[in-house]
């Protein structure tokens, strides 16, 4: 192995050992900011009613937006919920306190998942609703091993 290769391996090992200090780590984060399922349902009904919807109606239905984006044609209200999950398996002799060893991982594996539910509501310059778009990704835990494991352990602890 060349000197540069050895250096790169050492750097990777250092980075790997810094990311997870336990052999098996599960880290989850949820933000419930934004909107509830019930308010989203009311908003869909409002949009489907066929009447003119104003910014005040949206505020009353969905509550305060998490973010407001200004565009030339009007504002965009952003509503968002977040879910982050990370699982790390790090087999590294340096983690054993009484063993003096370089931080070279025997095995390092990481599985991360970041998902969000985002609703964007577009208004014109007069504050009338023009359009809305939504993406629901938090419920897609079956596609994420990280989220599936995290929720399983959380259930066990509860």
């Amino acid at each position: 192995m060349t000197r540069a290769g050895l250096l790169a391996l050492l750097l990777a090992a250092l980075l790997a050992s810094g990311c997870a200090e336990a052999i098996f780590s599960i880290v989850s984060f949820r933000s419930h900011e934004a909107y509830s399922d019930a308010s989203l349902m009311r908003f869909r009904e409002l949009m489907g009613a066929g009447v003119a919807v104003t910014k005040s109606d949206v505020l009353a239905t969905l509550g305060p937006p998490i973010e407001v984006i200004g565009q030339d044609e009007g504002e965009v209200f952003v509503y968002r919920r977040l879910a982050r999950d990370t699982n790390v398996i790090n087999l590294n002799p340096a983690m054993i306190s009484f063993v003096t060893a370089p931080p070279l991982p025997i095995y390092y594996g990481s599985d991360s998942s970041g998902r969000d539910d985002t609703l964007m509501v577009f208004f014109d310059r007069e504050g009338r609703l023009r359009n809305a778009g939504e993406r629901l990704g938090i419920g897609e835990t079956d596609r994420s091993r990280a989220a599936y494991l995290g929720e399983g352990v959380q259930g066990l602890i509860k």
Partner: protein
Amino acid sequence: MKRPGSIALALALAGMLSGCSLVYTEVGVPVPSSEGLVVGRTTKVEVLESLGPPRLVRRQFDGVLYTWRRTKSRRRSLTLLPIYVRAFHYSDGQSDRDDLSLLFDREGILRGVGRRLETEEGS
């Protein structure tokens, strides 16, 4: 019957086998109530006098949006074998928020109210 020394030793060993941590963070004061505010009548000056300054002011084409906000977050973790080799580490966190947003038109008259209470105290 077990001796007190062995019980103390067992407790010390149990303490070495696991570790827990809880971290709470709170930013902002409780959001004010929107009671007494009348859409179409209450002015920006009256709101500022009764509720105090908002945390966010966002300019809109049709007016301005004032937001009062409090954020609470919690992170808890559990670590098994925290001393010799950390065998397992679990951590979960959650962030909740109370928000009150008031929409004023260009003349400073209240046009809309939005409120969301997620923290335990807020709801």
